[in-house]
Symmetry: C2
Subunit: 327 residues, 2 copies
């Protein structure tokens, strides 16, 4: 078994990451491609990205050596329930020469284990959507939110983007003074900062521009809010409210003293939202360590290796997920 | 000109109303059919309802006598911009034997004039959507909201319905105690009040049930909130917050001392939301009279008659729009 390998996948909305490692925790190969979720990107497009990421990660590696796999996927349950998506995924899997079974887990779990080997804790994910989950024995336990943009995802990228569009409308209605965020939204959605007279025309154009795309595309306005954070009190309020929503979701699952991992595009990097949220977490749970998520694919590979490796979980985690020089 | 007639139409999401009157303010015919908005119901279905309502209203009347027409339509501007919808509407118009031109106005204006002949005031409409508008010289002036469910419609039926679904999810997440509203939502969306173990399964089913329909169908849950108002503090809070949103929108357009008309399915009848809103309006604007909307088709007919009739506007309004026995 000493030549056995494991593979981990982190399939997100904007990227697909793959990591191959051995049972000593040595990284053997890695792959990165665009978003490859078959249920959200469509099976055909997803397969292209999946194959690209798998091919890169398995370069120079005999895929038959891969004995265990963990696949982290937002709404992983949907892949199991969607025969067409499942067939597409399995096709890409076999095309890469892989024949070991894979375990589907939520992307929240992959985010959690990308930062810590602690069996119990919490994870808060905010990207396009938002979800909070308790982790118990390295499995997702209680979950709050993750309900999608129509009913939930409070404090997510969608939430921030919708807030930005509403702020721009409030200006056009004369209910709020103009400012950097509203101007940035007009520039993005209408191609100009100019306001028609009467402003109702510009408001209609803005509503129409948003409705011309899928609702979830509102998340693309979230970076405008983060960028305007230092210059516009409207953006500052939006970020503060988003952080409060996220902290509320976390409060539904978190147990004091255990670590919390901050994952997703809005929290894993140094954004104003992550900063405000960290302050809020430190206030509410002074004994809680807030850890930024790392490479989800490495976390997934570590989960896959746990049962096969003779090394202690923590040591394996340090080697495979947090090797020197990866932050 | 003494044999001239006018016609008014109020085309809403759930009903199409037509009223034919003469220049003395005597009602000559009326018609009622299902929702006939070509841009939301599709041209074919809309034409069926339009023709039914027009035929009923014009029974025993020579349509050539009709000299002026006003058509109230939510998003009336869209009809003008949508050639297919416009063609369908014009086809129904000619099929009814009508050859006079018609003036398209917003349904908010028709709601306003259904209650008062005062040239200046405000109107607040809450049905599936929500909009507030100032009326100046019997035309819509400043407008707040009416942005649709994705970006606005604060305090609307959609807003209340979404709030109801979220309240049901909060129960399933263990963030709120179970109650009459959450139970009613589960019964409506899932066919049972039962909660699976773990409750996350029921939460997923509920999210899936909502996402199986168009988002705007969430408005169908609004009556559950109104019904639970007396029995459930969660419903009470939702109604209070909706009223606050509506009052905020009104504040963006209202001028103290002028009348405000409450229109739309949630406000024109005696709902808990209308009652809470009336209290709120009385607190904010003690000198403002809040009037319930009446028959929008009669209001539209009155607008059509104004230029042709020699009677004073107020007298014509009293006869045509508020004849004895119509409230």
């Amino acid at each position: 078994m000493s030549d056995a390998l494991v593979i981990g996948l982190d399939i997100g909305g904007t990227s697909t990451r793959v990591l191959v490692g051995d049972l000593d925790g040595t990284r053997v190969g890695a792959g990165l491609a665009g978003g490859g979720n078959p249920t959200t990107h469509g099976p055909a497009a997803a397969v292209v990205e999946l194959r690209a990421a798998l091919t890169a990660a398995l370069t120079g590696v005999d895929p038959a050596r891969v004995r265990a796999a963990v696949v982290g996927l937002a709404g992983g349950g949907k892949l199991a329930a969607d025969p067409q998506a499942r067939t597409a995924f399995d096709g890409a899997w076999r095309a890469a020469g892989l024949d070991c079974p894979y375990r589907l887990v939520g992307d929240a779990l992959v985010g959690y284990v990308s930062a810590t080997a602690a069996p119990d804790g919490s994870v808060l994910v905010a990207g396009t959507g938002a979800i909070a989950a308790a982790v118990r024995d390295r499995a997702l336990d209680r979950i709050v939110d993750g309900h999608g943009w129509l009913l939930g995802d409070d404090g997510s990228g969608f939430w921030l983007g919708r807030r930005a569009a509403r702020a721009a409308l409030a200006v056009l209605e004369g209910r709020a003074p103009d400012g950097p965020l509203a101007r940035a939204v007009r520039r993005r959605l209408l191609g100009t900062e100019e306001i028609a007279s009467p402003a109702r025309g510009t408001a209609s154009d803005l509503v129409q521009a948003v409705n011309a795309g899928p609702p979830v595309a509102l998340a693309e306005l979230a970076p405008l809010v983060l960028r305007a954070y230092g210059a516009d009190p409207v953006a500052r309020d939006a970020v503060r409210d988003a952080a409060e929503h996220l902290a509320d979701s976390l409060a539904g699952v978190h147990r004091a003293g255990l670590p919390v991992v901050l994952a997703g595009g809005l929290l894993a990097t140094q954004t104003p939202l992550a900063a405000v949220l960290r302050t809020r977490i430190a206030q509410r749970w002074p004994t809680t360590a807030a850890l930024p998520a790392g490479d989800g694919a490495a976390g997934a590979a570590w989960l896959a290796a746990l049962d096969l490796s003779s090394r202690p979980a923590e040591e394996l985690h340090r080697r495979l997920v947090r090797p020197a020089g990866t932050g």
